[in-house]
């Protein structure tokens, strides 16, 4: 039976606790508070917390706080916050969102800012700068850089009697190796994400570029990935998936790393973030193969950015200063050392001692850092990119599952992409 008195007491207690818990007091004087939203976990989280402490100590007039948000969902949170009039000061956001974030009015355009001294904007790798640039605007400061290379299982290669991949290897070599590494006992030569998301697409793009193709025309007005180069690249995947059956199509995109680490996959195209997970195998890293008469050993990078929001001059200035410090060369070097992430600045990436140090901790890092110079092209920063990506993703998966031919699939996708580009 419900009694009314305890309820009243309970509500009163709750009210008191409510008033006590949480919430910042308005502080007209006192340090400027800025909030940084990010999704760092593990070593990155520890490292970033330490950096914030250091910054707060050195700058008593500023207080930096951070809020842990899930990286994938931070966009929804930011959109809601912006709509509701309470955005953060700094947020870690995926580079693929740049063209769309550029339309948020409270996002600070840094194009005037970064040419000022102290930023060394050109020290950032070209791919990062491209991912942060939308037309005339610069919407963020590079926070992370990576690229795709081939991680291979040395033991499986030895067992199959294949020489490990050489620096100048071709896609034919890759295909042959994959075929030899596939057996009937659940072992596959290689694996690709088959969920038709951007993950699938960005595994295909380096092949498209390597074959000499492009995603969009130079004026970004229509799709050109259905060129002969595009078909050639997709055909390579088709041959492995459908003909050789050496390419495992992972529809849920959850298993690649686990399968690799369990010794079930011979070669995995992935990035440096996965290296620490390969604890149970003896692995090596090699750059992506090239096409003969193609455009070299192209690869792709997926940089992420610190986006700064305008919440008034004082907070914005504090935010800019904080991001400038966090992305300065000494901090970049320290972060790389602590987390194993690739350095975001060329000057740091070319420091042989640092590279050797990183490689000792996580073997293969040196190859990934060198591979940054193979990032020659990047994805177009147009707002319609998500639609283009989706069309391309569906096309690739339909070919991988054997339900379509490369030329037809790419033509259909190009039509959809053109419609999207025209529509908006």
């Amino acid at each position: 039976m419900i009694r009314s008195r305890p309820i009243i007491a309970l509500t009163a207690v709750a009210a008191l606790l409510l008033a006590g818990c949480g919430g910042k007091e308005d502080n007209a004087s006192g340090p400027t508070e800025i909030a940084v939203w990010n999704g760092f976990t593990d070593a990155s989280a520890t490292n970033f917390a330490a950096m914030i402490d250091q910054y707060n100590k050195d700058h008593p007039d500023v207080r930096v706080t951070q809020l842990m948000t899930s990286n994938d969902l931070v966009l929804q949170k930011v959109l809601t916050a912006v709509r509701g009039g309470s955005p953060p000061d700094v947020a870690y956001m995926y580079g693929s969102w740049s063209p769309n974030i550029a339309e948020i009015s409270t996002v600070t355009d840094l194009s005037g800012e970064v040419s000022k001294p102290g930023w060394n904007w050109d020290d950032f790798y070209p791919a990062e700068r491209a991912a942060a640039t939308v037309g005339d605007k610069i919407v963020g400061v590079p926070a992370l850089v990576d690229n795709l290379a081939v991680v291979y299982n040395k033991t499986l290669f030895a067992e199959a009697g294949i020489a490990p991949p050489a620096k100048d290897w071709t896609w034919d070599d890759f295909r042959a190796a994959a075929a030899k590494l596939t057996n009937s006992k659940g072992q596959y030569g290689t694996l690709i994400s088959g969920d038709a998301s951007e993950d699938t697409v960005w595994h295909y793009l380096p092949m498209l570029w390597g074959a000499g193709g492009d995603i969009l025309s130079p004026d970004n007005q229509h799709a050109v990935f259905n060129s002969a180069a595009g078909v050639k690249a997709l055909t390579t995947l088709q041959q492995m998936a459908v003909t050789d059956k050496s390419l495992y199509v992972d529809a849920t995109n959850a298993n690649g790393v686990n399968l690799m680490n369990s010794g079930k996959i011979g070669m995995l195209v992935t990035g440096p973030w996965d290296l620490p997970s390969f604890t149970d195998i003896d692995y090596g890293v090699q750059v992506l193969p090239a096409y003969p008469d193609g455009a070299g050993h192209q690869t792709i990078s997926g940089p992420d950015n610190w986006v700064i929001f305008n919440n008034g001059t004082q907070r914005q200035r504090a935010a800019l200063d904080f991001v400038k410090w966090v992305t300065a060369a000494p901090q970049v070097a320290a972060t790389s050392k602590a987390t194993g992430e690739l350095p975001t600045r060329t000057s740091v990436g070319e420091d042989p001692t640092l590279v050797a140090d990183l490689t000792k901790k996580v073997p293969g890092t040196d190859t990934f850092i060198e591979n940054l110079s193979n990032v020659k092209k990047s994805r177009p920063t147009v707002p319609q990119y998500p639609a283009i990506s989706q069309a391309l993703g569906q096309a690739i998966v339909s070919v991988l599952l054997g339900t379509a031919q490369p030329a037809d699939a790419l033509n259909t996708a190009a039509q959809a992409a053109d419609a999207a580009l025209a529509g908006k």
């Binding site: 419900i2 919430g23 909030a35 976990t41 809020l67 842990m68 309470s86 686990n258 680490n261």
Partner: protein, 304 residues
């Protein structure tokens, strides 16, 4: 209570104490054969829980091995300590407890009042209002979350600070009453025999009195079910706290769990350890609530 109502209740109790037919014959097995059905059934149902437990005691390599490792080599209880230390879970636990408690009490009170009214009180606009409330369940949260955010923010700015988005009041506010609770209790209240209520009303008991003295005591299974479900939903709520929490000290446990889910890697053993720990309070709630799942004897024998 008036004499008529007492008479009603006594008659009912007497009926219930009538001799029941003889107990069933002794089984040939030392235990009921139903156990043979229920045990495997239960195991199938709780397989995810078992997997969570197993993973929480493994190392990362074991947890991500393919095919899955079912028995960890050396159970790593250290994972629990590591998970607890990874984020201020003590504070998150406190927040979760407060929010869930307030939401629970509010729902039980408000939804039983409303559910009773929909079940038994003929008021103008009853049908239309019920349908309208139900309609609020039919638009997905992905679409309504921004308007809800704006409304809660407005409350914080204009009504009471503590309810606004910078405080944990924001976590409670949209959930203080749910159409689910109203619907659920309305259905159950309609199974309470109208005769009992009418007897009491003839004696002059007010509507509210009937609710508290007759209907609610007979609705313990429903109320405790609603309590268990409300606790569950509130405890596990992730999307709304994600959207609305602005600082670490307002986080609830589900948000705390995202500390283990990075952009590329998930720390499965720690995540599962934290998950298991967060189940413990809910388990406690349920063990208490399920005692009331059994209907009290007084209400039997009235159908017909």
């Amino acid at each position: 209570m008036s004499s008529t109502t007492e008479l009603a209740i006594d008659t009912v109790l007497d009926d219930a104490k009538e001799e029941l037919p003889a107990a069933p014959r002794r089984r040939r097995l030392p235990f009921s054969p139903w156990h043979l059905v229920l045990i495997p059934l239960t195991f199938v149902l709780i397989a995810p829980l078992v997997w969570m437990l197993i993973t929480s005691l493994q190392t990362h390599a074991e947890a991500t091995h393919f095919p899955p490792v079912l028995v960890p080599q050396h159970p790593r209880f250290q994972n629990y300590a590591d998970a607890w230390a990874a984020a201020p879970f003590g504070h998150f636990l406190l927040n979760s407890l407060i929010v869930t408690l307030v939401v629970l009490v509010s729902n039980l009170v408000v939804c039983s009042l409303a559910g009773y009214a929909f079940a038994r009180v003929r008021f103008l606009g009853r049908g239309a209002l019920f349908l309208t409330l139900m309609a609020t369940l039919m638009v997905p949260f992905q679409v309504t979350m921004i308007p809800v955010f704006l409304i809660v923010k407005w409350f914080g700015d204009n009504v009471w600070d503590a309810l606004g988005i910078d405080h944990i009041g924001a976590l409670m506010l949209p959930n203080l009453a749910t159409a689910f609770g109203v619907f659920f209790l309305r259905q159950f209240f309609t199974t309470i025999p109208v005769e009992l209520e009418e007897a009491a009303r003839v004696d002059g008991t007010s509507r509210l009195g009937v609710l508290f003295k007759i209907v609610l005591p007979l609705s313990l299974p429903a109320m405790s079910t609603l309590a268990a479900l409300t606790v569950l939903t509130s405890w596990n709520d992730f999307m709304w706290p994600l959207i609305v929490v602005t600082s670490t000290d307002q986080m609830t446990i589900p948000l705390g769990l995202s500390y283990f889910q990075g952009a590329h890697n998930t720390q499965w053993p720690l995540l599962m350890a934290a998950n298991v720990m967060s189940l413990v309070p809910m388990l406690a709630v349920f063990l208490v609530a399920q005692k009331y799942f059994v209907q009290s004897v007084a209400s039997t024998g009235l159908k017909g």
